[in-house]
């Protein structure tokens, strides 16, 4: 084995913050009160609280060291390639973090009078316009907090549209390659889920769709490119089949990183879709969130957008419109994850039309480069052309009892974050690799070299892989024990 990228480094031990606490330490100091002190007990009566239990008492340097040490136990995009398929782990530009912290953006109150919110409203408007142009749609809401909530919003709009025609319809068609959020969302808006089986190319089969399509189907939820990273080239036919029977085409925009500047969903028949600003538009994943899931739609669905929407008032200033009788309502308080809008817009501005197109081209170039270099070493279950991600399987390595998760754990030792394992479900033992545009040729070559080296180890020294990772602070954790006897909070040892 030859690990050229990673090496061992110092890893500080660090307990839980509660274990550092002792009475009298403090990391806070309040200014003197400029109004009279109050007697809390007198003001609040039986509602007063006198004790905050086991909340920690520590000093500022301890907090800095605590979280800094914890941070060093994380892998991150800033450290290296993070090829999680379907997650689009691209570079998170630092200027985004600077502009979002500008005083009067960071401290803008959502209920501040519109007169002193024009800057924030302008950001909503300019981002909305850019995203409408990028998707080729007619209208947009930025309110949904994440992709899954965008899906919910989109399906609520689908339902409202059908209701306005007199029949809400009963079910949503979802391909078997779809993200788990799709069926979970359909269930949340009371639609039955009907599975659509992929064909041998891993795509929607128009004939099968036509057979399943009827007046009970409200919409098809389609990810395009799909989770195999394959563009559904029959997309126009798919849209026609749906539209002919009054159904709608919902597109899960999780894989928009393959299309921005190169093709627009609105042009190929999509009626409503969500975007993930934390995937395609570079807002940081932050260890699991926050995201942002704007929903763009065609004109026919515009009346149903969540309330409020941004409008231009007669005097030319911007404002919110709340009076929208056909709206599906509100999906969260206020206007959405504004901080993500600022970051996404800064990203769009840093790129411009030429930069966004080059970004998409590089993302597709990188995925195809990996595919070319690793085909043969790993099984490629679908030979259909790849766009921004490529899906292999662990079939060739399986004979020594090695599964995709084992290969992934070994990849950690080589200095990379694992790819997505065991998804999509239509590929048993899937290795789903999405490099994004952020990787240089050098990093890709190191990755390829690591994957090939791991494949050789699978042949020659399988136990090395089964015991991986070897270079991390801790080894594989006992997830079974964690689930059988859950310990979900710290308690003072008795």
């Amino acid at each position: 084995m030859s690990i050229t990228k990673a090496t061992r480094h110092i890893s500080q031990n660090e307990g839980l913050i509660f274990e550092k606490s002792s009475p009298g330490k403090a990391a806070w100091k309040l200014p003197p009160l400029d109004v009279p002190e109050v007697d809390a007990e007198k003001l609040l009566g039986s509602s007063v609280r006198n004790d905050l239990g086991e909340m920690p008492e520590v000093s500022e340097i301890e907090i800095i060291r605590h979280f800094t040490r914890l941070s060093t136990w994380n892998y991150a995009i800033d450290l290296g390639m993070y090829p999680l398929g379907s997650c689009t782990m691209k570079y998170n530009p630092r200027v985004n973090e600077v502009v979002v912290r500008l005083d009067r953006l960071a401290n803008a109150h959502p209920y501040a009078p519109e007169k002193i919110s024009q800057g924030a409203l302008r950001i909503l408007r300019v981002l909305s316009d850019a995203l409408i142009e990028i998707t080729g749609m007619d209208a947009i809401t930025l309110q949904p907090a994440a992709g899954a909530q965008g899906e919910m919003t989109g399906l609520l709009m689908v339902r409202a549209y059908h209701e306005s025609k007199g029949n809400a319809r009963k079910k949503i068609l979802i391909p078997d390659s779809a993200h788990g959020t799709n069926p979970a969302t359909a269930a949340m808006v009371d639609y039955a889920v009907e599975n659509l089986k992929s064909n041998e190319q891993g795509m929607v089969d128009p004939a099968a769709l036509a057979a399943q399509m009827n007046d009970d189907v409200a919409a098809l939820m389609l990810t395009n490119p799909n989770t195999l990273g394959v563009f559904e080239h029959e997309i126009a036919k798919i849209a026609d089949i749906l539209h002919a029977k009054g159904g709608l085409l919902y597109m899960d925009g999780a894989n928009m990183n393959a299309l921005v500047g190169k093709a627009r969903p609105g042009d190929f028949g999509v009626d409503v879709m969500h975007l993930n600003l934390h995937k395609t538009f570079s807002t940081p994943h932050g260890g699991g969130g926050p995201g942002s899931g704007p929903v763009a739609c065609k004109q026919i669905l515009e009346p149903f957008l969540p309330s409020p929407v941004v409008i231009t008032k007669p005097d030319g200033t911007l404002g919110f419109e709340y009076d929208r009788p056909q709206s599906v309502g509100r999906v969260r308080a206020f206007y959405g994850n504004f901080g993500m809008f600022v970051r996404a817009l800064a990203y769009i501005m840093a790129n411009g039309p030429d930069g966004l197109r080059q970004t998409t081209e590089d993302a597709v170039l990188n995925a195809n480069y990996i595919r070319k270099e690793l085909t043969g070493t790993f099984d490629l279950p679908y030979s259909t052309p790849s766009m921004h991600e490529v899906v292999f399987s662990d079939k060739l390595q399986g004979k020594n009892g090695i599964k995709t998760m084992d290969l992934a754990k070994r990849l950690i030792d080589y200095g990379f974050h694992p790819y997505t394992t065991a998804f999509p479900l239509i590929v048993p033992g899937a290795l789903m690799i999405e490099p994004t545009e952020s990787e240089s040729k050098e990093e890709l070559d190191l990755f390829v070299e690591a994957m090939k080296s791991i494949a050789r180890e699978a042949e020659n020294e399988p136990q090395t892989i089964l015991d991986a990772p070897h270079n991390t602070r801790i080894s594989r954790l006992d997830e079974t024990a964690a689930a059988r006897k859950p310990v979900l909070r710290w308690k003072r040892p008795s």
Partner: protein, 458 residues
Amino acid sequence: MRYLPKSPTDRAEMLRTIGVGSIDDLFAPIPAEYRLQRDLNIPRQMAESEIVDWFQQRARENGEGYTTFLGAGAYNHYRPVIIDALVSRGEFLTAYTPYQAEISQGTLQAIFEFQSMICELTGMEVANASMYDGSTAAAEAIMMAVRVTGRSSAVVARSVHPEYQQVIKTYATHQGLPLSTVNFAENGRVDRAALEHSITSDTACVLIQSPNFFGTIEDVSAIADLVHSKGALLIVSIAEAISLGIVKPPSDADIVAMEAQSFGVPLGFGGPYCGVLATRDKFVRQLPGRLAGQTTDKQGNRGFVLTLATREQHIRREKATSNICTNQALVALMANIFMTVYGRVGLRELAKQNLAKAAYAADHFSKEAKVLFAGAPRFHEFVVQTTEDPSVLNSRLLGHKIVGGFPLKRFYPELGNAALWCCTELTSRSAIDTVCGLLSEYEESAKTNEPRMQEVAQ
């Protein structure tokens, strides 16, 4: 493009390796008629300095030097600087959801500490890693109560944040989940007699907020007794997390649906914020969202993993507890650091300052206008009824660089010229005094309004 790490030579070499003539060959799967043959009509590529400049201009358009009395679910508290110093670390900022535990222990241990502190503060036994915000946490709590009880309707107090109520309605509409509302009494608290009538044998839960939207603290224990006697669950929504420093925790609730924005999260024009759900151990399998749990590795070292994942959409798909996937992890980390900074003593002292400022303001405002709901304890918000229409008053105040209270007419027309005012530790006595002066100016002139108008006419 400065974010792209490839030279033209790299690209050409890679295309050669792949075996295609040009990048367009890789886009061949997209039918030609759908390939965009023009530039997107969006702003041109800008230099970093231009981007900063553009956003600075937008920031200026948001107005400068205003003192705010707005709260209503978004609170202006001081944010210790170490929060941004720490969450800006790339290892937190640019990491994904911690599915690969061996290289995500930092995020996982932080979530575990977050869950633990939320439990301490709310009096609950288990808390999740976060929800989108307080409104969706409340909506998900209701759906959770439906699963736990097998009953299918819910009662929501009218004194819950009106936008939370709207979100709950959106979520409930298509779940076959009828909602009813219960009004507030004279003192601003939930009308308990009305509540008793509105709970039926099909009521899964009652959702109240405390401190409620008017800033009034509810008698959670008494309401819990009532709700439990009817076999339903009590959900307590908390929009102002700082209140937990001085207000008795809702330990008698079954689910706490919280907004943790006040814990070090910038106002940011409404988001991203940080919802949280906390509950009893026995309901954990119906709790939506991610959970970090403690376990050990092969050598016996303590470590943390995401656990009980079978509740979630990526495994259970349409049968999952919720469709939530991405949450508010980095914002939860801000809240985590904030709670650690203030801790056991600081959080109480901070809450006490908020209490004192609001008490002073309410006391002084009541000399010039009517402060409603005086009969029950409040935290740091209160409703003021004026002779003048609040929106007119607010434009007058704006001229003095003061943002007045949140007008309530849109949601509570029966309260007349009422607005919701908020004071935090950042509200200065001089600002409160200035508002009092301006209030009294109007009330005085209202009394002598007619003669003055005549003077003007002359």
